[in-house]
Structure formats: structure tokens, C-alpha cells
């Protein structure tokens, strides 16, 4: 419209108003309003003319101008406007996103963080996955200059943080274990406020005096917070889509005894769920659960490992390992306590105390070779230990620095519920199964990271569950980046060493490539006994003298030095026996009469006794990467169980050093690999005969292949009589 057209249109409108309005007062008001509307219409017309000068009136160009305008606005909102990819991704929907580096997880999803400032800087735009890992409710951030607390509200009553104080999606985006998961739209924050000028933490629930969390517990439970605690998010994952398998491969012997087949998932949807956060203060960790859960969905690629079902003959073998069954029962007790603590809104870190007290009441830390698990299962269902444990718990808390204020009635109720939990052989078997699946999942995840050169945050893993919540015989390792980051593809490509061919390919001859690490190599190494565990067990069983290995001696030296510093503690462990070392590492035990020494030495004992039997950071423990969370990791995996499974699965190919040459050759012909072992339990004994046997075999031709040395390891099981086992592996190439 031209200016003249506008003028004429407005004049016509004015005439019609005058003709149709009788009320003079109303006419004056309408004229006043109409005057303003005329002004607005004229201004809009002027702006349109200016826009037409730029765009030539093209709708496409007008839309482009609008996009540019939005983009500029987004740039202004970003923290780092200088990086192109920082804002390109926010204008595109996945999978059309640009990762800022090859392995960076990028969902393309964003959320706002309300930092509370006035003006346009109030809302900061953040990537969803970053926000959920760094800016999770309950944490404090310095990302925006002054510290900002991401609100979680009061959780002290039931260890549950109400996340509805943030702006969430109107409906759930998906579900996990029957619980709805919402997407965060805006995270709300506040400046931490310390009313009395000093920061305190509640010993009971670990709430902090920051004006957000507040705490309903007694003031007497508050202690000055001298050092900030550590917070980390508890993240779970769930498979959301049907599987799109593009290729299936198989491991070779003996790994195929663990894993039936391995498939590449070309496309999979994964729900990433923030279920809560864990807070660690002074060596104890508590867990706060979010209500509702929050999360997001990614499309990625992964590898499905189908496990072989648990062999019942193997289970029977486990039941012969009495100390191991005792440890498994302890783990089961721990898992019975966890839901009781949640029901009574008691922080999760108390689970160790309750477990320790039950161990003492049932004398599970004093077992010998006559340990009868069936008798213990009966005893757990009786009243006797409950009375004892209810008294004992107050003796043990004297050894802890913090105050303990749980009502005696609640303590009794927790013990009563453990008593009524009907632990049975079937439950033990199912728990063994879970321990094995979880342990293999950790080993595969670590091996996958090594093979692909990925960091823990670049890969992820999950153990799918059936509708009843039972773990399936499956493990999925997947890229944690939306649209994939190539790590799982790399792992799948390097799944298994190629059938060894002599010589080099033309490509290998021309390019001096470095040797890749194959998944089966790294996975197999994680199935061998833990180096640290072997050393510790040798030392505590006093059999390190049996073997003069420099490579072991160096590490034993460290333990010998520790023993000199804490002779009382080491003597106590020796008296208790190596078979009781796992329970000695749970909770605290009185050692000295002097109360100060009492506490110090008790803690030392817990530390020394926590040697690697069921897992440590040197082997398969993942810390805060473990599922469902770090607090229960110790009771969710068992390296020792995995060691026994490895032995069980390699029984067919295992011979001893005195085996006949023809028997060795038979095994090699059949399985292409043989393990030759020797047990050492005599101080005069060495393994020269085994070395000679290996020398005799090197390079021998079997059919069209040659025997080659392909492994050597040490083991030191917890057995009676004690021994060290040395194994060599020979393969055919």
C-alpha cells in the first residue's frame, strides 16, 4: 500500500465512525484510540517500505532476514559468541548438528539457565548434555561469574529433591523402570546465601546452608563446612528403540565362551536419565533422588554383546568357594538394606554401617573352611542377631567421627526387614548372575575405551532389563554422542584380531602403521586376575616368598613398608585370615583401647582390608561411571567371580606343566590355543620346568600353523592350601 492509499483508508474509516456513533463522549474516546492506531499503522507501513528496499519484497528474503535476526539474538545470549559452531548447532535440529570436536557429545538440545539477573542476560543458553553433567540440580557453578546454586530445594526429609521448581516439559519424554522422565526447559538458580555468615553442613543428610537446601534436622547436627564437598550426577540410560542390526561377528576361543555373538546396532535411541546426584563429604557419600527424573533422548550407534547364559555347573563350583559365597551373601544383605534406608529417608552412606553391624552379629567376618551358607541363611531369618545388631550399631558408631541420630525403633525396623527378606539359594544364584553380567559390562566398557582411544564420557554402556526388571543376558556399549561419534564403529571394526597371516599386506609394507589394540586383547587382559589383587593376596597369605619375581617384588615392597607403619592392623588381618578380608573392609572395627588410636587404626584397617578381591580402579571398577551409581558399585561387581569364570571357561584348554606333548598338541589342534599352568606352593619350587616346556614348543608346526607364545600371567587365589599359579598361553599363527 502506498501512503496515499493508507491516508484514504483511514479517512474512510473515520467518516464511518462519525456516522455510526451517537454518543459524543464515547466518540471522543474512540477518536483518541483511533489516533494511536493511525500512528501505528503509518509506522508499520514505513518499516515495511524499508524492508522492501532491502529484500525487494521477496518472502524468502524477508524470512532470511528474520532468521538472521534470531541468530544475532542467540549469539548475544551465548557465552562464547566467537565460536561459529557454538551457535550453528542451536539453530538446527538433530542430526544436523556440528560437533565442536570429534568425540564431543552433542544432542542439539538446549535449555535455558535462569541466572536471576535482570535484563536480557537473565537467561543463558546451554547444551542439554553439558547442563545435565555440570549444572545438575544440587550443584553450584561459577560459570556465570558469581557462584550460582542450581536449585534442588530441601531434600533432608526424604532424600528427594523436588525438580518441579525448574521449568520442565509439559509431559514426560519417555519412561525408565516405570518412572516418567521429563525434559528440563529452564534451570533455576540463586545466589548462595549464608544467613549466619558461616557455611555449615548437616552431618545427617549432608544438606548445606546455602539458602536453597535448608535442613529440618537438629542444629546440633550441623558442622562447619571447611571444605566443599563433591557433587556428581547419577546418570542412567535406557534403550528406547527397536534394534537395527547391520552386522554380527563372533569372538574366538576362549572369549566366545563368555559372549555368544556381537552385533552392530546401526541406529538406536537411548534415553539419558538424571536420576539424582551423589554428594561426598569427608569420605562418606549420600545420594539424593530427583522427583521427577529428568533427561533427554539421543540417536546413536552401539554394539550389542549377547552373553552366554549362566552355566549351572559353574554355579555349583562357586558354592564350593565358601568365602566367596559369604561375600555374595554380604552383598545381598547390602542390597536389602538400600530400599529400607530410602523408605526411612536415611542417607545411603549408612548402608555400610548397617551392613557392617549385621556382618558382626552374624559373625560373617570370622568364617573358616567349615562355613555353611545354608546355616547362615537360616540364621538371618531368626531374631537372635537382630537384638545383637541393634545394640552393636551404637558400639560401632563410636568409631565414626560424625554424629549418629537414627531412632532405635527405625534401626530395629530395618534389621527386622532384612530378617524377613527370605534370602535363599535361588536369590544367591540370581545375584551371582547379576554380578557376572555387571562385571563383564565393566570389562567390555573399559576394553572398548582402550580400543577406540575414547574417554569414559565419550562411550557409555547399559545392561537392558526385561519387563520384570531382571537383567537380560545382554550388554550394549554405545557412543554417548547424538548422531554417534564413531567410537563404537571403531571398536566393532577392531573387535577381533584377524586370523594371523604370515607377513605383511602390500598396504602394511608401504605404510609403517602402528599396531592397533584389538578389543579381544584388551578384554582378555581384563579377564585375567587383577595385578593389584594378586600382589595383595600374595602378601596377606604370606606366600610372596615363594616366588622371586622382580616385577612383583617392586610392588610388594610398598605393602611391606605399609605393614611396618601399621603393624597392629596387619597383625589383626593376619589373625582374621585372608578369607575374611572382604568383610573387614566394610565398616569399622575396634582395635586399640585408646579411643583416638581406636578411630585412627580402625579406619586404617578398613583401608588396608579393602584390597582388590571383587574389583578396584586398577581392574574393573568405574567409579562414578558405574551403573546405577557409585555408591553401590562395590556390591554390584566381582572381579574374583570373573576370575573363576575365566578359569571355568578355559578348563578345556588348560593343562599343567607336566602334560604330555601329544596332549598339548591335541588341544592346540582343536582350539588353536592352550594354557599351561603350574601351581607353586613349595618354597623350593620354581617354574623352570614350565619355562623349558614353553621353549620346547616355540615355533613348532601343527598342520599349516606354528605355535607362538601369546600370554603369561600370575594368579593368587584365596585357597587352602595357599598357592601361586603361573600360566602361559600358546596359540597357533
Amino acid at each position: 500500500m502506498t501512503d496515499k492509499d493508507i491516508e484514504k483508508f483511514l479517512e474512510d474509516m473515520e467518516t464511518q465512525i462519525v456516522e455510526q456513533m451517537d454518543n459524543k463522549k464515547l466518540l471522543a474516546r474512540v477518536f483518541a484510540e483511533f489516533g494511536l492506531i493511525k500512528e501505528d499503522i503509518k509506522k508499520l507501513n514505513e518499516e515495511e517500505e524499508k524492508l522492501n528496499e532491502v529484500t525487494g519484497g521477496s518472502i524468502e528474503k524477508i524470512e532470511e532476514q528474520q532468521r538472521n535476526s534470531i541468530m544475532v539474538q542467540k549469539i548475544k545470549e551465548l557465552q562464547n559468541p566467537s565460536y561459529l559452531d557454538e551457535f550453528i548447532r542451536i539453530l538446527r535440529k538433530p542430526p544436523y548438528t556440528l560437533p565442536s570436536n570429534y568425540f564431543q557429545p552433542e544432542t542439539g538440545l538446549i535449555l535455558n539457565v535462569d541466572v536471576g539477573d535482570s535484563g536480557p542476560q537473565r537467561y543463558k543458553t546451554e547444551r542439554m548434555e553439558d547442563a545435565l553433567r555440570m549444572l545438575f540440580p544440587g550443584s553450584t557453578t561459577y560459570r556465570y561469574g558469581a557462584p550460582k546454586k542450581i536449585l534442588c530445594g530441601q531434600f533432608s526429609r526424604n532424600n528427594t529433591a523436588d525438580l518441579t521448581l525448574h521449568r520442565l516439559s509439559k509431559g514426560p519424554v519417555f519412561e525408565i523402570d516405570g518412572r516418567k522422565v521429563y525434559e528440563i526447559k529452564t534451570l533455576r538458580t540463586r545466589n548462595p546465601v549464608f544467613n549466619d555468615g558461616r557455611q555449615w553442613v548437616c552431618r545427617q543428610c549432608f544438606s548445606i546452608s546455602d539458602g536453597d537446601e535448608t535442613c529440618h534436622h537438629s542444629n546440633q547436627l550441623r558442622m562447619p563446612l571447611k571444605k566443599a564437598g563433591s557433587n556428581f550426577p547419577d546418570i542412567e540410560t535406557v534403550e528406547l528403540s527397536s534394534r537395527n542390526i547391520s552386522e554380527t561377528k563372533y569372538f574366538r576361543y576362549p572369549l566366545n565362551q563368555f559372549i555368544e555373538d556381537v552385533s552392530f546396532l546401526e541406529e538406536m535411541k537411548v534415553g539419558v536419565v538424571l536420576t539424582g546426584f551423589s554428594r561426598g563429604i569427608g569420605g562418606s557419600v549420600t545420594r539424593i533422588i530427583y522427583d521427577p527424573y529428568v533427561g533427554y533422548e539421543i540417536k546413536t550407534k552401539g554394539i550389542l554383546f549377547k552373553l552366554r547364559p549362566l552355566d549351572l555347573n559353574f554355579v555349583e563350583q562357586i558354592f564350593a568357594e565358601r568365602h566367596l559365597i559369604r561375600d555374595i551373601i554380604i552383598g545381598l544383605i547390602f542390597h536389602q538394606i538400600i530400599p529400607q534406608l530410602s523408605d526411612h529417608s536415611i542417607p545411603l552412606y549408612h548402608a555400610e554401617l548397617f551392613t557392617s553391624v549385621i556382618i558382626k552379629a552374624l559373625e560373617l567376618d570370622k568364617i573358616d573352611n567349615n562355613f555353611d551358607f545354608e546355616k547362615v541363611l537360616v540364621e538371618i531369618g531368626e531374631d537372635e542377631w537382630v537384638d545383637q545388631a541393634t545394640t552393636e550399631i551404637f558400639n560401632e558408631v563410636r568409631l565414626y567421627a560424625g554424629r549418629f541420630s537414627i531412632d532405635a525403633g527405625i534401626i530395629r525396623d530395618i534389621f527386622d526387614r532384612v530378617k524377613e527378606s527370605s534370602l535363599s539359594k535361588e536369590k544367591i544364584i540370581e545375584y551371582i548372575r547379576e554380578l557376572i553380567i555387571n562385571s563383564i559390562s565393566h570389562a567390555l566398557f573399559i576394553a572398548g575405551c582402550t580400543t577406540s582411544g575414547s574417554l569414559y564420557q565419550e562411550l557409555d554402556y547399559m545392561v537392558p532389563k526385561d519387563p520384570n526388571g531382571r537383567l537380560k543376558d545382554e550388554i550394549i556399549v554405545f557412543d554417548s554422542a547424538n548422531g554417534s561419534n564413531g567410537a563404537s564403529q571403531l571398536i566393532f571394526d577392531y573387535l577381533s584380531l584377524p586370523e594371523e597371516e604370515l607377513g605383511f599386506t602390500e598396504d602394511e609394507k608401504e605404510n609403517l602403521l602402528y599396531r592397533p589394540r584389538y578389543l579381544d586383547e584388551t578384554f582378555a587382559e581384563l579377564l585375567l586376575p587383577c595385578k593389584q589383587g594378586v600382589i595383595d593376596r600374595m602378601y596377606h597369605q604370606s606366600i610372596s616368598v615363594l616366588i622371586d619375581e622382580e616385577i612383583l617384588r617392586l610392588q610388594l615392597k610398598h605393602l611391606e613398608n605399609l605393614a611396618k607403619e601399621s603393624s597392629v592392623v596387619f597383625d589383626k588381618i593376619k589373625q582374621a585370615g585372608i578369607q575374611n578380608i572382604f568383610p573387614l573392609g566394610i565398616g569399622l572395627r575396634p582395635i586399640e583401647d585408646d579411643i583416638i588410636e581406636f578411630q585412627r587404626e580402625s579406619e586404617k584397617m578398613r583401608e588396608v582390608a579393602s584390597i582388590c578381591i571383587h574389583g578396584c580402579p586398577d581392574c574393573i571398577a568405574l567409579g562414578n561411571k558405574s551403573k546405577p551409581n557409585q555408591s553401590v558399585e562395590r556390591y554390584s561387581i566381582s572381579k574374583y567371580l570373573l576370575d573363576i569364570l575365566f578359569k571355568y571357561n578355559t578348563n578345556e584348554i588348560r593343562l599343567y606343566s607336566d602334560a604330555k606333548l601329544e596332549d598339548i598338541e591335541k588341544v592346540l589342534q582343536k582350539s588353536k590355543v592352550v594354557i599351561l599352568s603350574k601351581k607353586i606352593n613349595d618354597s623350593k619350587c620354581d617354574y623352570e620346568d614350565l619355562e623349558k616346556r614353553i621353549s620346547d614348543l616355540i615355533g613348532k608346526r601343527i598342520d599349516s600353523k606354528f605355535i607362538k607364545l601369546s600370554g603369561k600371567w600370575f594368579d593368587c587365589p584365596i585357597t587352602n592350601p595357599t598357592h601361586i599359579e603361573i600360566s602361559y598361553m600358546m596359540g597357533l599363527v
Binding site: P498, E521, C530, I551, D696, I698, L709, G711
Partner: protein
């Protein structure tokens, strides 16, 4: 005794050395004698070092040099008997770049603490450790170890005492009859 040819020459040598490396952890009576007129570094087949262990880091080896360096870290005595680069330059028609490669490799091994000997008479090819003897026609060079040449030889484990000791005695005699390599034996 095992028959050895171009297909398993490198396998036997690699395993003999790896075994000696592991043995050095508990037994100080370990040694390596390497006799070969031509002596060059070579790349080890990418699949061989596949080695499963909870204590030994053998899998990270890419070349023959890596393996010798690892052994020297465990203070294993390594003696090498070969042609001196100067002799090769002045008395053979070997290409200059091959001589330079041998010169470089010898210098590296010297830096790792290997004892290098030379003799113009050396023609035998022998690898001896405390666990066995490998001998035959193959030099320690990429072309011999990577199947480009036809070679033949034999491997005697230590359990074949008489044969093993004969070869060991032979090696000791030849080292005695050779001269330790001097700076002037290398290329400038």
C-alpha cells in the same frame, strides 16, 4: 629341535627374546647373542605381539628395536656381532642407504647399552638366549624376517643340551675372536 624356514624364522626369534625378557624378572642368568653380518631394524607383524598378561607389557612392541630396548630396560646382557659400517662401505658393494641404516641401528643399540662386536669374517646367523638357539641362513634384516627371501634353519631349545651347548660355545668363541666396535668403525 624344530625345522625353521622363512615362514617361522621371525616367530621363533621374537618368542625367544620375549621369553628371555620375562625370565629376566626372576632369573639373572639371562642373555642374548645376536650374530648376523647384516643387521637392521625390522617391523614386527602387527598380530604377533598380541600378548595377554597381567604384568608384562609386551603388546606395545612395534619393531625389533622396541623389543631390544625393553630387554635392556631389564638389564639383559645383549651382545651383537655384525659387520662394521666402515667395513661394509669400503669392502662391499652394498648400497649406501643400507649401510647408513645399519650404522643408525647399531648406534641406537649402543646407546641402549648393547655390546656391539664386529668382524669381517662373520657369515653365520645365530640367535642364542638362555632358553634356546636359532640358526640358519636368515640375516636380521626386514627382507629376511618379512618373508621376502627363502631361508632355512633350525631351532634347538635348551632341553636339547648337547646341540644347544655346542652352538652356545660356538657363539662365545666368535665373540672372543671379534673386536668390540670402535667409533672409527662407524660412519662419520
Amino acid at each position: 629341535m624344530s625345522h625353521v624356514d622363512e615362514k617361522n624364522f621371525a616367530i621363533v626369534q621374537f618368542d625367544l627374546l620375549v621369553q628371555e625378557y620375562m625370565k629376566s624378572s626372576h632369573n639373572k642368568e639371562v642373555f642374548v647373542y645376536l650374530i648376523s653380518p647384516y643387521f637392521l631394524n625390522y617391523r614386527i607383524s602387527t598380530t604377533w605381539p598380541s600378548f595377554t598378561s597381567n604384568f608384562y607389557g609386551v603388546s606395545d612392541i612395534d619393531t625389533f628395536e622396541d623389543l631390544l630396548r625393553l630387554m635392556r630396560q631389564n638389564e639383559i646382557s645383549i651382545k651383537v656381532l655384525t659387520y662394521s659400517p666402515k667395513y661394509m662401505k669400503e669392502n662391499t658393494s652394498i648400497k649406501k642407504r643400507h649401510i647408513m641404516r645399519q650404522d643408525d641401528f647399531i648406534k641406537k643399540l649402543y646407546d641402549y647399552g648393547c655390546q656391539i662386536f664386529s668382524s669381517p669374517k662373520v657369515h653365520s646367523k645365530l640367535t642364542v638366549t638362555s632358553q634356546g638357539v636359532l640358526f640358519g641362513s636368515a640375516n636380521i634384516t626386514p627382507s629376511a624376517m618379512n618373508y621376502d627371501q627363502w631361508n632355512i634353519g633350525q631351532y634347538f631349545p635348551r632341553s636339547m643340551k648337547k646341540d644347544y651347548e655346542e652352538k652356545l660355545l660356538y657363539a662365545n668363541e666368535k665373540f672372543s675372536d671379534s673386536n668390540p666396535l670402535k667409533p672409527e668403525d662407524l660412519l662419520a
